[in-house]
Symmetry: C2
Subunit: 204 residues, 2 copies
Amino acid sequence: MNSTNRTTKGAGPRPASGADLPSSTYAILGLLTFGEMSGYDLSKLVDRTVGHFFSPAKSQIYSDLRRLMGHGYATERRVEQQDRPNKRLYKITPKGERALRTWLERPDDEPTTVKMPFLLKLFFSAHLSRESLVAQVQEQQRQAREDREQLRQLEREMAGKDEMFYPYLVLQFGLAYTRSRLRWLQDVLRQIGARVGDEDPPER
Amino acid sequence: MNSTNRTTKGAGPRPASGADLPSSTYAILGLLTFGEMSGYDLSKLVDRTVGHFFSPAKSQIYSDLRRLMGHGYATERRVEQQDRPNKRLYKITPKGERALRTWLERPDDEPTTVKMPFLLKLFFSAHLSRESLVAQVQEQQRQAREDREQLRQLEREMAGKDEMFYPYLVLQFGLAYTRSRLRWLQDVLRQIGARVGDEDPPER
DNA sequence: CTGAGCATGTAATCGGTTACATGATTCC
DNA sequence: GGAATCATGTAACCGATTACATGCTCAG
């Protein structure tokens, strides 16, 4: 219940060296630069903008918003409505803008991580039949192609738009990553195919 | 405190559809196929094998071990030592082996995710001076090159080893990913360089 | 009449991380 | 004398997710 906790004892992912907030919270602070918004608005904005590489749950957004207020990075304005539920609009403060820029400038970041359970499975695939493994790889291909389609769609949508310069660069990462994933999967398929029928069968 | 919870009410990352354990726990179950081991041994084995794409904290390993026992996937054997602290050796059971294979075969996995705070920063880089951004990109390059060096080292170590077939494939993913990251970073640098001095300066 | 959209939130968990505690031995 | 290795674990906490609750309006 204490939002101004300084003596950070052991914790989760932990905001990088000296940072007061995790990057995900700064992300929603960044989105507030688009204008005054409700949590609901933010949730939709996330989908339309950063959704392909960062998608917090709604409840997370609402609690981040409260956190930003606690730091004085945003202010709340309640708006009564009779046709729809009342809403709370959040606005970034000058202090919040400064904090955002400080975060942007700070070089030390939480580490980049890839969480890919399939890699774990592949690592232990000596315990798996070749057929099952091939099926798994193909499933991965299916998923990667699906991702690629979505990214391509996004690319078309923001092609040429000048204000989308940085978002476009981010998107390019997604595309490059997906391409490399697909090439690798293809290679995996080739290599396990080239491997003649030796080794332990299903091991049972 | 209930380890046999069926009615999974709201939770964290959540083990995939119908899975009883998260993939990280299966990972350490998989490592137990290398032989009877202590938590300490496992922690070192992780570093030498899967460490480059999966590295749980020691405390996590110990608690996973307890969990595996709770499911009957491993057994514990206490070994008294007088020169060193006593140890507990864990061994995978036939039931555990079956569970491992079932997990390996199950196609539905926890989703693949990439957590890369830098992408968030790049997305909002309109609020950042060009110099700061360039510095950030270069820092990313530095880190990616470091990763690459480590992976190359590993590659040399397991080159040609036949029993390393699958671990090698996994390593290839890491290398492909790192290469694509580096190419993309180079491209980002080029594109922000090509962009003439228009747009908002530091914005303050 | 039904379902989608608007709008906010609580409850309950869970995985995972850091920091700390403890204590012996062996190597430099 | 001090660091590294061996060895296990607890405490505290944090980010994040799912499920659920509530209730109104408007389009098909």
